[in-house]
Structures are given as structure tokens and as C-alpha cells.
Amino acid sequence: MENRLQFHHVGTLVENMADAISHYTDLFGPESVSPVIAIGSQQVNVCFVKMANESYIELVESCGEESVVSKMVKKKVTYYHIGYKVDNITSTVSELEQMDYRPMDYFHSEAFEGKRCIFLFSPDMHLIELIEK
């Protein structure tokens, strides 16, 4: 693959962000836990817990019935996607489509300074997120 996928985070759903932050703060210390960021287009709140340099757990809390993940929360899904940073998101998506990945719609994420992001399903129906550097 020409475009390199740089691992950034594992996304996991949480039912209550305050409870999850409390737990992860106990585990990794307050300096490892980011502020909570609201992602308007996805109707979720997110918070990043630093594991190592540029490697995070992304805590994702649904903000209502219309959010993309609300049904997954009800089904008790926890870990559900891996996020990668990429230099050129458009050409990476094209390359992945050639490998049978199925893209969803682009959105701009408040968690990444408004940069473009996109979710895709792999041929095995694993969900990944690309984040424009």
C-alpha cells in the first residue's frame, strides 16, 4: 500500500463518560486523559486516554438516539474501531476502495482541529477510521 496508515487509537463505547474518565484516570493518571470533546456531526462526546506516544484509547459516549453509535451502546458493544492518521485521506480512501473497503461519508472532527475523517468497513467488516494529518 502506497499510503501509510499510522496507528492512532482504538475506539471504545462507554455508557457514561464521567464514570469512564474516573476509571481511566485511576488507571493511567490525570495527565493521560484529555478534555471531553463534542463531535457535532456524529453526535458523540469523545475523550482520549494516552497509552504511549501517539497511541490512545478513544472513549466514545453517545449524545442521543440519533447518534451513529447509540444502537451499538444498547447492544453492549465496547471496542469497535481502530483509528489511523494518514497524510492524504482522499488517495488513501481510493486505495482502500481498490482493496474492497467500503467508505462511509467524510466528516470534519472537532477532535482533530476540524480535519477530515472517514469511517470504512474492511472486507471482513472491521471498522476503521482515517484521520487527515
Partner: protein, 79 residues
């Protein structure tokens, strides 16, 4: 295969994929009418439909359907 046969088969695919035996489709059905049909399950449905009907849709086609009738037309156009 006519459009009504496609509709019947689509209903079975939707019931299996969404794990809901109560799904009832008509040509006018949209994602707003089926609780489990969201942007994530949409991709699962497309893959199941492609496997069942042995067709392949482009991203543009996948985003163009406004209801089940248009999806059925899209399937028939490829058969």
C-alpha cells in the same frame, strides 16, 4: 426475476442482517422507517445484498438510493 421478487428477497436479507424478523419492506420504505437501519448497518446490508444477488455496487450507487424501490431497480439493472 421481477421487482416484487426482489422485494421479497430483500425483506429476508434485511431481517437476517438486522436480526429483526418483524421488518416489513415496501418500495417506499426508507432508512427512517426501520429502526435498526443506520449508516453503519447500511454497509452490512449492502454487502449482504451484493452477495445474495451476485452484483456489485459503486459508492455512488450506494448513496443514490432514496428508498427500497430504487434499490430494487438498481439490483434489476445489474441482472
Amino acid at each position: 426475476m421481477d421487482k416484487n421478487e426482489v422485494l421479497i428477497q430483500l425483506q429476508e436479507i434485511f431481517r437476517d442482517t438486522l436480526d429483526n424478523e418483524e421488518v416489513v419492506l415496501t418500495f417506499d420504505t426508507t432508512a427512517n422507517d426501520v429502526e435498526e437501519w443506520d449508516s453503519l448497518t447500511h454497509i452490512h446490508l449492502v454487502v449482504s445484498i451484493e452477495k445474495h444477488f451476485k452484483v456489485r455496487f459503486t459508492s455512488k450507487e450506494i448513496q443514490s438510493w432514496k428508498n427500497i424501490g430504487e434499490l430494487a431497480d438498481g439490483i434489476l439493472a445489474k441482472k
